[in-house]
Point group: C2
Chain length 639, copies 2
């Protein structure tokens, strides 16, 4: 499908928007009227500028408050339309979007609306333009695509068609399946917008909180599937009003936009290729759709089997200080890189790599952000395919210099600049490290360390404008799925938190956004340039034993108030002995219907990084968000 | 009345909150449970800390999901209550707030609710504690204060009473006038919260968008008036959940909180003192209320009669450069200060003062913020009373050093540090300047200048956390009233804009907040340290003549796109000649039912300051917000 985007979706001046849209390889734009009104050139200037960038102007929008009006207003609106048609012709745009009337003057009479739109279409036809009629969710009379289609059908003019927008349909909880019954050639344009599910006025929701497909909670795949089934072969477009996008650097927004369409197309393609159930509608049409419409077909999402290692950027002196801390934390120095200033630390199945190699990617990260996580390595059966998926989804691959005796670990750049590396699962737990490292066995050190066994989750702090970017990135590129969005009360502002994980939960990331600039999370994000790992959670099968061992070796945990335990016992049914152990160890506790969660946090390193020790009991599937305020308050109150 | 505040209303750790609350001279606190849970000391530590700061703990809150439960849950909740009573006794708090049940298990049976609350009150009585029952707006069964009162009345226990919260009543559009019929001694606590009128889920509204009285749009005065009429003499409290307050420095929030109560009390006092209408309820009680309840009685809001002058902070070299610009702008150098490096510029009734005096307040502002407005001077009949009002409302007065031959101009410090000075209207248009300045008449310069006559408005850019602070400041201290809140689309993010003005519109300020860090407004605010004048609008009676004269003398205006005028004529009925003049001069146009508005903006100076030239026709009462995007896009696209 041709891919287009409305200029309102991006920040910047109109020329800047066009450049970002072209760089992300869109085919064309929907020109949002206000962008043109404030553009300092003429329509011709804009047409030439777009053409030079390889972009067509596919739609001019919006034309408001037209249909169903008293005669005097109708005549005036036709005059207004003629002035807009002058402009649209000059722009070489084929279609004008007319959205359903919100004026208090509108008359509730579909026949009148049809007759007036017929006349408008007639005017358009004289210039070989077309008019697309769209139902706004807050239209005064016409709110649903079914109503709009009924008016278009009645008007019966070849230059009048329907425009569909997923937001307007799904925000009203309307069923999109009727779309497939509309003749495809009468659908003139298709706008896709997702959104989080919010209980608020639909107009405010629409104007401020839409998002790209895959960033929100609507069923975009089901909606989109109906449209080619109807026979539509026109542009696939995005029209997103979002407060955060208005302030996000537009190059990134444009990449997100393209990624969202490619992801959505690939999902619809998959759905169309699935064997049709006997009771499915349009079983005959499903196969033929892919003959008529090109839907993106990238490599599949990688099957990720866990985190292979976490890599830290350091220099010589910070690596030494970190060495002390890691040993306190039960890690042993397990190997030295054959050709680089890189050390491997191990405990249980956890591999941490500290990279202090001069002139490396890691060193550049260290110089910009201090001691910090610079790469997450994921285990997968086919690293090359994982990179192929990522580049197909417009992520950049990363090819670092390869040292002697070093395995190539394919990698990509995540939003914000951290690497995601892919380690072949065929290498086994040691394969990669045997090739790259001189493995050591430290004498006099228990192999068990503190009993930490696996990486439970990695928590990232994100700038406000990175959250939607990351949600889409982890879904489209890594195949992780988001859980519910929570708000945590830090003493200095709210933090929004959302877990993402793969199906078997062997990879869990927690994405945290501080709405305030004054929280510790915000400071970590700021030091990281917009994206930073702020803590790493390591799991154990016996948290009390682990805490005892860690404390004995000098690790320091944030102290939890005794009041926390006094309150806990009023909320949760715990036996006195367990409560006493929690209190004495300073371990936090959460219980869901599925299981229990024990956890404890270390004090922060410089730069804000800290560790969490966790123990999951049964199928507990969250992150102890209820306890986050206790942790944040403890960190704010100091030891 | 005793004044208290819930700890949830402020940012910071609990000890920091208490210090801020005490510094703003509150009498006590409502302890929000989560603040205590995360506090690292004991109940006794907290009680001592509060007592040392002169604060009592007046309420412990909230106790949730208690009334109307099945027997098993009810018994468990009584146990939970006993643990909380242990704590509350230790805290020496007299009352626990129990809010209406939101659990899906609740049984819709007021008799059961009353019986269970009776038992809870009995337990409380054994410890000489009391329980206050409050209707949450999103309670599952009990949502209205009338329902809660009916349950309390039925329960009929001296240790059970009602707690009122203006948010829960006014957010549901419930009528507060029934409160006056409730026996005052059965009202155990009173929480006041204002809010902007938003169409959203009431729980989300309540948790994120409450504000202090006077910052929102509820009728706080009418609500509060009912409560002493009922005979209530207990604490007047604030319980505000607000995302922005969570990140605002808590000393300022606490001052705003106190100011909001003092302002509200003074309004209720005024209302009670007004002669009662014959049909008014409780005419007998109205007078006696003020015998029983102390309501704050500050000096009246000043009667402001216009802006006397605007003062700029400069140094020698920036003053020279600014001199060139002011002359281009039709100002003449009208006087030199008798004892300071201060120059007066004049045009029409406009007085601008450029202060480059070393070691002065202005110089310190210049050093911190560059060339910028450091004071707004308002004309009023009684400057001393204006300062008295301000200090009564917890603003700081400012007493600068007085030079020889210099009139004292009483002044106060506005939030963010700019001065508001008060000039006696008795001095007449020249009185102040004759005393302080050697007035000059520049030969060879037309007295008319460019025909600019008055200061139309002053636009301030505010950091996000300064908007509510300023709305309350201008209302409570200066007696200005806010108009509607608008959102303007800058190419790099949204700007929220709200005009405030006095009744005769001789003083108008526009308060702008950029939600994005990337707009020009945000950069100006940042340079100004959170509050900065970003433009000054000067009015003329003939904008075309003024623009011609200004352009001839070298002033540069932001160029407006021709597309703006092509669109304007489709929206507004204008004759061709006027449209041509607008287009040729680059003047923007807005029309309301009351009148027309012509305006044009200059290019920015360094630091972001610019001028607007305006002409109001008939009773146009706004600021041309519809044209702000054209201005902001033009500024972003450059000349």
């Amino acid at each position: 499908m041709r891919r287009t985007i409305a200029t309102v979706s991006l920040s910047g001046t109109l020329p800047e928007k066009l450049e970002a849209i072209a760089a992300a390889r869109f085919d064309g734009i929907e020109l949002f009227e206000n962008d043109f009104i404030n553009f300092k050139g003429t329509a011709r200037d804009l047409r030439v500028m777009a053409a030079d960038l390889g972009l067509t102007i596919d739609l001019y929008q919006p034309f408001r408050d037209f249909e169903g009006m008293p005669e005097a207003q109708f005549r005036r609106s036709l005059e207004r339309a003629e002035r807009k048609f002058d402009l649209i012709q000059e722009l070489d745009a084929p279609v004008m979007l007319c959205c359903s009337n919100t004026s208090p003057l509108v008359i509730d009479d579909p026949a009148l609306a049809a007759a007036q739109l017929h006349e408008l279409a007639g005017r358009a036809a004289m210039r070989n333009l077309r008019v697309g009629f769209e139902a706004l969710a807050w239209g005064r009379v016409t709110k649903l695509y079914g109503q709009a289609w009924e008016i278009v059908r009645r008007a019966d003019h070849p230059h009048l068609g329907l425009i569909l927008d997923s937001f307007h349909t799904l925000s009203l909880n309307d069923d999109p399946s009727g779309i497939a019954d509309i003749p495809g050639e009468k659908i003139f344009y298709l706008q896709m917008a997702d959104a989080p599910l919010l209980s608020m006025d639909v107009l405010q929701w629409a104007r401020h909180h839409r998002s790209f497909p895959g960033q929100g909670q609507f069923d975009m795949t089901n909606f989109l599937e109906q449209v080619p089934l109807a026979g539509y072969t026109g542009p696939l477009s995005l029209e997103i009003f979002n407060d955060v996008f208005r302030e996000t650097p537009n190059r990134r927004t444009a990449v997100d936009a393209m990624r969202s369409l490619l992801y959505l197309e690939s999902q619809v393609r998959q759905r169309l290729q699935e064997p049709a159930q006997s009771n499915a509608r349009f079983t005959d049409r499903r196969a033929s759709v892919l003959q008529r419409v090109e839907l993106y077909s990238p490599p599949p999402v990688p099957d990720i089997m866990g985190l292979s290692y976490i890599e830290f950027a350091a220099d010589e002196s910070s690596a030494e200080a970190f060495d002390v801390l890691l040993r306190q934390f039960g890690f042993r120095r397990a190997g030295t890189h054959r050709s680089k200033a890189v050390v491997l630390y191990r405990q249980g199945d956890i591999n941490l790599i500290v990279n202090a190699q001069p002139d490396s990617f890691a060193r550049r990260r260290f110089e910009a952000h201090g001691l910090s996580v610079c790469a997450l390595a994921m285990r997968t059966a086919d690293p090359a395919s994982a990179v192929g998926r990522a580049t197909a989804m417009h992520s950049q691959r990363y090819d670092g210099p390869l040292g002697p005796h070093e395995q190539r670990v394919p990698a990509i750049v995540s939003p914000g600049g951290m690497l995601i590396s892919f380690v072949s699962s065929a290498l086994g737990p040691n394969g990669l490290y045997e090739a790259d490292f001189v493995l050591e066995d430290e004498p006099g050190r228990s192999a068990a360390g503190a009993g930490l066994k696996r990486i439970d989750h990695v928590a990232l702090g994100l700038a406000v404008d990175q959250l939607d970017t990351w949600i889409l990135f982890v879904r489209a590129v890594l195949g992780l799925e988001p859980g519910e969005s929570l708000e945590l009360a830090d003493p200095f502002g709210l933090v929004r938190s959302r877990g993402v994980a793969n199906a078997d939960r062997s990879v869990r990331l927690v994405l945290n956004v501080s709405l305030s600039q004054r929280t510790r999370t915000a400071r970590t994000v700021s030091a990281g340039g917009g994206v930073a790992v702020h803590h790493i959670a390591l799991s154990t099968d016996d948290i009390f034993d682990a805490v005892a061992r860690l404390t004995a070796s000098g690790a320091r945990f944030v102290p939890i108030s005794g009041n926390y335990y006094d309150d806990l016992i009023t909320r949760v049914d715990l036996d006195d002995d367990l409560l006493a152990r929690l209190r004495s160890a300073g371990v936090l506790f959460d219980r869901s219907a599925a299981g229990d969660y024990f956890h404890i946090y270390t004090e922060c390193l410089d730069g804000g990084l800290f560790f969490e020790v966790t123990q999951r009991v049964n199928a507990y599937d969250a992150y102890g968000a209820i306890n986050a305020p206790a942790r944040m308050a403890a960190q704010a109150q100091g030891a």
